[in-house]
Symmetry: C2
């Protein structure tokens, strides 16, 4: 079958509208490390996928998975020590005040737990989030998705902090920080005047969905303090930002913020559905007492085996240092290429999480969504996989598996340079 | 560490309140087929776990899992033909009008999809369910959990149909059916008078959580017709009932009901988080158009490999016929033992899904929850794993892996008989 026939077959089974990447979607058959291969044997450098964090088909993870699947896999109402070992391990890489964990299967489920927990702990209903966020697809978590400022009863959004497209031009970073904080305060105040008790604030610790903006220094820490002072809890979503993506274990370390509840997902099991929520034990116990939470596939020996293998791989390969150096190199080199195109408005990010913002031109900063999408498609045709994303879809999102090395950065940079030069031809 | 130390360690990591089975929880280390083994080498016959439907650590599933995990595992915005093959396969074992599938990771997610879909299709908000049901733990799906009759705004429950504890004594089966149907009609009418538009009805097709009651003939089919006539859609939850548990592929075949949306979960991947929702394509397309649903870990080659291996195993081993014969044998033999105990009030079920209802005595039918829990604990001490469940917790739920054979039934029956005889000593 050719690609169009495969797409027609897919639509007939899944219904039209199941999302696919690229104008010409890719029929994949194999993955290894940072590489993916299509049915024609074509090789692609994966610079998008953050689930296979220690590489596609990582041998350590595959071996741990196969061994556990052939030994024991069971739900969590029996005792399995490997699950306890993994719980201890995941807590050991978090701030010490986050001392209990609830495992789940997906990021959506982790954020459901976090939001339900915040409601129980505070007795509140109101959540504050940014105006360009996505935390998951359940009805509760989905109520946050691209929420208009005051359009939903229990959700008030604020303009996400952004140094490249500031709320007001011509102010200092500190003044800008205060302006964004005033947005958060206004959300708090509006809940108060509506008589809706605050449950908390939920943010991706690196504002990934928003486009990974550069944030005024101190914003997240101070926003957290304001919400806490108003009686709300602080939920930070590390589904994209966490697991050393930034070179640090968690985005909240980059932001120097203190969360009460942290959610984790995608990279946690390198492809096995594994997610979770760490929080202060007092919060977890209140949640468990009220909900008697049980999740069929979560807290299983299979999740634990894969989760542990991922952390061991990160630690034994010294990935945090590599991520920091390769990420900085990649960002710096992209910056050097920026003058080649009038459409590169901003290059930013941390570790192996880099955004390249596409604009009509650098003066107007007009979002060039079509240009970013076109560039993703051009790069796909050149064997590089990434995607356009962000609040306006005009950001090239660079977020490779974390085993991405300098040689892979160079492979990309050579092609990217060629493509940018060809733009002018 | 002894068991108490392990429990203390577990509480310190998960928070007190993470549920465990039995007065003396079991520390498991290995599983194979219908058997589980604890850290002391003790063997248990598993008569409870419905996730490892083709047996703990089934070699075909483990091999498929390991092979796929070492070849390709990726999210669904690329094309992978194995995922299409599996989608085709799962649809082929459903009624033909259910012609599209949406994959998810957990039963909760599948029921979220179903309820969101029903809301989109009807424009309604109101759901009807039984008064002793559980369909999952998200806020939306959890709103159904043991809902009081009219205690929640968008959920109206009705007394679940039950021949053993009928709504009214001394009526014929047909009269009783009409009485239960009147309950459903009353829920429909109350939504109408509240001005809440009906979204649909959601039922486990075998009322598993309710305790697997014997249901007046025709109830589910007629209830579905009533709800459809009132503009609602019919969601049947096959998370427990499906995958040949009854000897037929789906509980809706046993009940001769026609669902619009069917949800699946637990046994689907034999332990890999795999769930899904099949529905009329028109419904799925409306859902996809509005929600642009994407689930990170779902519709993956890994899910497809395990899901396909499970169906192949069911088919190649001829399990449906075996389930029907072994299930009937087991139920009949338990019925023969019933006179040994004054506490066995009812023995019922279909295929390898059997309930034994525990009562103070057969005349009063008073629910003996403590007795059922005590029996589960005694059997655990005799190397048999099952649990007490049902609306009042007084039902012994027998729901083994589907590779359960006559020899395993005999192993259980011998021990159960001994235990019942010992009750009188």
């Amino acid at each position: 079958m050719n690609t169009n026939e495969l797409i027609a077959r897919r639509d007939s089974l899944f219904g039209a509208g199941a999302p696919l990447f690229y104008n010409s979607p890719i029929h994949l058959v194999r993955g290894e490390g940072v590489w993916l291969y299509d049915a024609d044997g074509r090789q692609y450098l994966d610079m998008y996928n953050n689930i296979p964090v220690v590489g596609h088909c990582n041998p350590r993870v595959v071996e741990a998975l196969a061994k556990q699947a052939s030994t024991l896999n069971i739900h969590s109402r029996y005792i399995a020590t490997s699950v306890l070992d993994y719980a201890e391990k995941i807590l050991s890489v978090h701030a010490t005040h986050l001392d209990n964990v609830v495992f789940a299967c997906t990021g959506t489920e982790a954020n459901e737990i976090a939001m339900q927990m915040a409601k129980i702990v505070t007795g509140g209903e109101g959540f504050i989030c940014t105006d360009a966020t996505y935390h998951g697809h359940s009805e509760l978590v989905g109520s946050l998705t691209y929420s208009p400022r005051r359009g939903r009863k229990n959700v008030h959004s604020f303009a996400f902090p952004n140094m490249y497209r500031p709320l007001v031009d011509g102010v200092t970073e500190e003044e800008l920080c205060n302006l964004y904080l005033a947005e958060v305060q206004s959300a708090i105040d509006d809940f108060a005047s509506d008589g809706i008790k605050l449950a908390g604030i939920i943010m991706c610790s690196l504002f990934a969905n928003e486009g990974l903006p550069t944030v005024p220094k101190g914003f997240m820490k101070r926003a957290a303090e304001m919400v806490r002072a108003a009686g709300g809890v602080i939920i930070l979503d590390e589904v994209q930002a966490g697991f050393c993506r930034s070179g640090k274990w968690w985005g909240y370390e980059v932001m120097e913020a203190e969360p009460d509840i942290v959610t984790m997902g995608k990279p946690m099991g390198n492809g096995i559905p594994l997610a979770g929520c760490v929080a202060r034990s007092k919060y977890v116990e209140m949640f468990r007492a009220q909900k008697r939470y049980f999740n069929t596939f979560a807290s299983s020996p299979m999740q634990a085996a894969c989760g542990m293998a991922v952390i061991e791989e990160i630690e034994s390969r010294g990935l945090p240092a590599q991520i920091t150096s390769v990420g900085a190199y990649l960002r710096d080199e992209i910056l050097k290429l920026a003058p080649l195109s009038p459409h590169i408005g901003d290059v930013r990010g941390v570790g192996l999480f880099i955004s390249v913002e596409w604009v009509k031109d650098r003066d107007s900063k007009g979002a060039d969504t079509e240009g970013a999408a076109a560039m993703a498609n051009i790069l796909r045709d050149h064997g590089i996989l990434l995607s356009n994303a962000g609040a306006m879809g005009n950001v090239l999102k660079i977020r490779p598996p974390l085993v991405f090395e300098k040689q892979h950065a160079d492979f990309f940079l050579n092609i990217f340079k060629e493509v940018l030069l060809a733009e002018h031809d």
